[in-house]
Symmetry: C2
Subunit: 306 residues, 2 copies
Amino acid sequence: MKKLIEKIIQTKNPTVVGLDPTLDYIPQYLKQKYFEEYGYTLKGAAKAYYAFNKKIINAICDIVPAVKPQCAYYEALGWQGMKTLAKTIQYARSKGMYVITDGKRNDIGSTMQAYATAHLGQISVDGVQTPAFGADALTVNGYLGTDGISPLLSVMNEDQGIFVLVKTSNPSSGELQDQKIGENSVYAVMGDMCEKWGEGSIDPYGYSQVGAVVGATYPQQLGELRRRLPHTFFLVPGYGAQGGGAKDVAGAFDENGLGGIVNSSRAILTAWKKEGSDGVDFAETARREALRMKEDIISVIAPIKG
Amino acid sequence: MKKLIEKIIQTKNPTVVGLDPTLDYIPQYLKQKYFEEYGYTLKGAAKAYYAFNKKIINAICDIVPAVKPQCAYYEALGWQGMKTLAKTIQYARSKGMYVITDGKRNDIGSTMQAYATAHLGQISVDGVQTPAFGADALTVNGYLGTDGISPLLSVMNEDQGIFVLVKTSNPSSGELQDQKIGENSVYAVMGDMCEKWGEGSIDPYGYSQVGAVVGATYPQQLGELRRRLPHTFFLVPGYGAQGGGAKDVAGAFDENGLGGIVNSSRAILTAWKKEGSDGVDFAETARREALRMKEDIISVIAPIKG
């Protein structure tokens, strides 16, 4: 996680902005432009998403270390949406941001290798190496065990990482994840596997390339997992719209203010609505909300230092 | 699973062909045509995948009820690959085949709703309903619990289905899935959740819209799960290249020869290599291998009847 941690130290900001666009989040004036040009089509919507994302990225790239585009919202627009996903990842990286593709991908062997290639590597087109999506990190689901993770480890370079679902932020996450295997819960067993998978890749900050997704909505488990998994960096969803506050995420961090990055999507992307504006200033309101979130979180953690 | 089961009864064939293309599977003469036109690019490769898939579908659509395109191989070609995925799904459905998109998607709430929309529903582009990928069924991962499944149930029409990962075919599947929660293994707990999620949608054949993925490589667990989950239809990977044989999959079926559909990908797509040909007849060899597989499997199960 070295590259991500260095961006966090540089911006003094342990947060990531989720780029989860929906048509409802995009101000009328902006989407209308693309509907007039391309009709009410997947292409028109995908072009509007990209224009929206670019303005958000421009507004936050100097103060926020990372963005996290959520694949599902792009897939819902078909291949046109996936083109916007690829362009968004490239644009954010060109502005110096660390990009975590939130795909929760999972499979085995050569199939998982194909996902690793798609999102973190390059495919060989009869010898010509070509990137497909090219992010810095990918979220994955570890239900299939080591066969689903090792293909990622073999594709990643030292600047890349993965985040494995451990304890998710949703109300029903406990149906499986809180069940007990002997004395341990399923999420703890999954967390222990993250520590094992990360063994060979621990950076100077003490964290491996294998991170974990742990929700802000379960602060007790977050603290428990921080102590249990000392080398596992946490991606923390559930702050803001899902109900988690700054105090709830504090447990993700270590004594250097590191160890976690907190995501917010809706509250930032739709800040213009809350301010009652017509959306012309949506990027500026997103920046203000991103700064507010940063201040909120750094107020409850140790000072960030490398 | 009514629509799928009717196709199985009509073809007397409980198998599905996995459309998992790689450049290595495509005969030289076919891919060369597209590389000459589009260069050694993602677009050239994606065009070659589509031409390959179309010929396979043409060769098997009268004898095989379903195809299962694996998202990962299309994603590895970026948005151009996703365009081929969408076109492949549409083409297979136009030839009367049932299409299971193998995406193992998983998330929660509005994000899972976006995946459901992408693969099984239609997105509203400011009021204009538009399908993105439009398959009959989707594979999903249930690690996040009910919040990850209910958005699918609300999007599906009565002809559509999902298959939840229960006991996967890979060697390391047991690392989590075989662990014991009280007296039950994790995979049994996940299977029980499938029965619960399917309660409201049981068809005249006795199966619900919520199926399960159970690997051919664990025949004992397959039989155990068949008895435990009487309303859950099984998608069975692991036959052929992964080592499972006809006897290993027999346990997936009920006394009417129903209850499961067995996947084969590599053995069918690369049958031309095994026959030592130059690949000009790859579609005919795929058909022969599909027929061989059908005979192999129906020889060990009860006669298929509706």
